[in-house]
């Protein structure tokens, strides 16, 4: 019913309408990306980029422990953040969906994601106010006499994780909540009729049914977290560098664009692997 055979004039028109967006994406996304991929196979000598095809950058990545450690740090932090965020967000989404009266739910949700709308850079900075040596937490704890010396939280991995979890709890609460309210109450009634208690109903019925939503949210968390430079740079400091920080270092002091390009490709591969793992896992769940 939508479209039968296209006249030549119609086809020209259709291409004409789609062309600007397609050309934009080609020119400013596909071409730059391919250029960067090519560049990762060149190398830097002095301040010059030499266009000789080689795998030096990738070989250096696997032989230089500082670089490889960046990927390991990135993966560790991302996995910790993803797991913690899901564990914190799921109960929150569940309480909002189940315990909060219907007419207040939308408000509770908007409230739960309100700090989401602070500027991204500012959000990390505000955690610095809370976590730094003379920050809110340390002053409170010393004031109460619980600790003598201020805790070193800022400029550690802990601070990075806290900053990330704060952001992603809001995101995941949103995705998990929308998953929970779509669930028909009939499933739970059926489980209860068959003699399941509240815990069994949750574990065998509700949780598996919301798993696709959790996985989608978790994958989103993984992708956004592993590619982020701002939060680790502000909160984590320079102690344990993550991959995006190392990429930015190549650009700055060293002006080693080919190495930055190679590291970006490695970052992308990590995301692709995560996607493949998630996708396969989801498919098994559906079968």
């Amino acid at each position: 019913m939508t479209a039968t055979t296209l006249e030549d004039a119609d086809r020209r028109k259709a291409w004409g309408f789609a062309a600007p967006a397609l050309l934009w994406t080609l020119a400013f996304f596909v071409v730059p990306f391919l250029f960067m991929a090519a560049m990762s196979l060149w190398k830097r000598e002095g301040r010059e980029i030499v266009r000789v095809w080689n795998l030096d950058n990738y070989l250096r990545f696997f032989s230089e422990s500082a670089l490889l450690q960046g990927l390991v740090n990135s993966l560790e932090i991302t996995v910790i953040v993803t797991v913690l965020s899901v564990l914190l967000a799921y109960p929150l989404a569940w309480i909002i969906a189940e315990r909060v009266p219907k007419r207040f739910q939308r408000m509770a949700l908007i409230l739960a994601i309100l700090p989401f709308w602070t500027s991204y850079v500012v959000r990390s900075y505000s955690w610095l106010l809370v976590l730094s040596k003379n920050g809110v937490i340390n002053q409170m704890l010393t004031g109460l006499g619980l600790i003598a010396e201020p805790l070193e939280i800022a400029s550690t991995r802990t601070a990075t994780v806290i900053g990330f979890v704060h952001f992603f709890v809001m995101l995941l609460t949103l995705t998990i909540y929308s998953n929970l309210i779509q669930l028909s109450p009939n499933y739970r009634r059926a489980a209860a009729d068959l003699g399941a208690n509240a815990f069994q109903t949750f574990w065998h019925v509700v949780l598996p049914l919301t798993l696709p939503g959790i996985m989608t949210g978790a994958f989103l968390t993984f992708v956004l977290c592993i590619g982020d430079y701002v939060t680790p740079q502000i909160l984590g400091g320079n102690n344990e560098l993550v991959l995006p920080q190392i990429i930015m270092l190549q650009l700055g002091r060293r002006a080693d664009f080919p190495m930055a390009a190679a590291l970006s490709i490695i970052l992308m591969l990590a995301v692709t692997v995560a996607y493949v793992l998630c996708a396969r896992w989801l498919k098994i769940e559906r079968a």
Binding site: M1, T2, A3, L6, R11, K13, A14, W15, F17, A18, P20, A21, L22, W24, T25, F28, F29, P32, F35, M36, L92, I95, I96, R99, V100, I110, A112, L114, P115, W117, T118, S119, Y120, V121, V122, R123, Y125, S126, W127, L128, L129, V130, S132, N134, V136, M140, V169, M170, G227, D228, Y229, V230, P244, I247, L251, A260, S264, L267, M268, V271
Partner: protein, 263 residues
């Protein structure tokens, strides 16, 4: 009965704790933007608006604010127009390879901003193109176009086709159909795409950081303020940005989404 009270008590306690966690940094940010003193950390010395005054007389900050608005609005308009045209073409004409085209248009969504920015930077450097607000805008269209296309494409249902066909029978050409029939029918989703894209561009850091040189956007300017460490002025500008975003969110909630809910 006792167990139910217990469960509900635990639930509310959990809710309170997580909300406290979520709001803690924002509350601290806003509170100490009114600090009467040089450090935005406890103790709170007293109430003062001096840091807000400092923000408003800071020329660089105000220029960055203007740049951010310019880039956000221009890049969102371009993203919406291109996204709308592409959505119209792909939803109304069956072109060969349309699945591939959709995939291409959505693809930038799956790649981190850092990588998009690096690619553009590498290419611009190789072409000896100077960095400016224009290059930031180009980058922001790359990240917002998929979003605008997806939102508008999703709202182009088949039920609007007959109305468009009627307009065409009455002599309207494609542009008239789009401007006078399709776009007004899809206005809620076009506006949603526009405002979402404005918020993303407004808040975007890494692309703006890597692709700008002399004129910078607000997040980049705030970033350079961070080098001076904890500073109540950063709190003040941060609180203002937060206030502006929340105001925009509330307007959207009560006008746009409120209207679509009623329909």
């Amino acid at each position: 009965m006792l167990r139910r009270v217990f469960v509900s008590g635990v639930s509310w306690a959990y809710l309170a704790i997580v909300y406290a966690f979520i709001f803690l940094p924002v509350a601290v940010l806003v509170l100490f933007s009114f600090q009467d003193g040089r450090l935005p950390v406890p103790p709170f010395n007293g109430f003062s608006t001096q840091w807000y005054e400092a923000v408003f007389v800071d020329r660089k900050l105000m220029a960055a604010l203007g740049n951010s608005m310019l880039v956000a609005i221009c890049s969102s308009v371009v993203s919406c127009v291109l996204g709308f045209l592409a959505a119209y073409s792909l939803a109304r004409y069956k072109l060969p390879g349309s699945a591939l085209q959709r995939g291409l248009l959505i693809a930038p969504m799956t790649v981190s901003y850092l990588i998009i920015a690096l690619g553009l930077l590498a290419l611009l450097n190789a072409l000896h193109m100077p960095l400016s607000l224009l290059t930031v805008g180009i980058g922001h269209v790359v990240i917002n176009l998929p979003l605008c296309f997806a939102i508008i494409y999703a709202s182009m249902g088949d039920h609007q086709i007959n109305i468009e066909r009627a307009a065409r029978d009455l002599g309207a050409n494609d542009f008239k159909v789009m401007a006078l029939v399709t776009a007004p029918m899809l206005m809620p989703s076009i506006l949603a795409a526009f405002f979402l894209s404005v918020t993303f561009s407004w808040d975007e850091f890494i692309i703006a950081f890597l692709l700008s040189r002399f004129d910078v956007t607000l997040p980049v300017e705030i970033w350079s303020m961070l080098r001076s460490g904890l500073n109540p002025k950063t709190n003040a500008i941060g609180s203002l940005v937060f206030l502006a975003s929340v105001a925009l969110l509330l307007i959207l909630e009560f006008s746009l989404f409120g209207r679509t809910k009623k329909q």
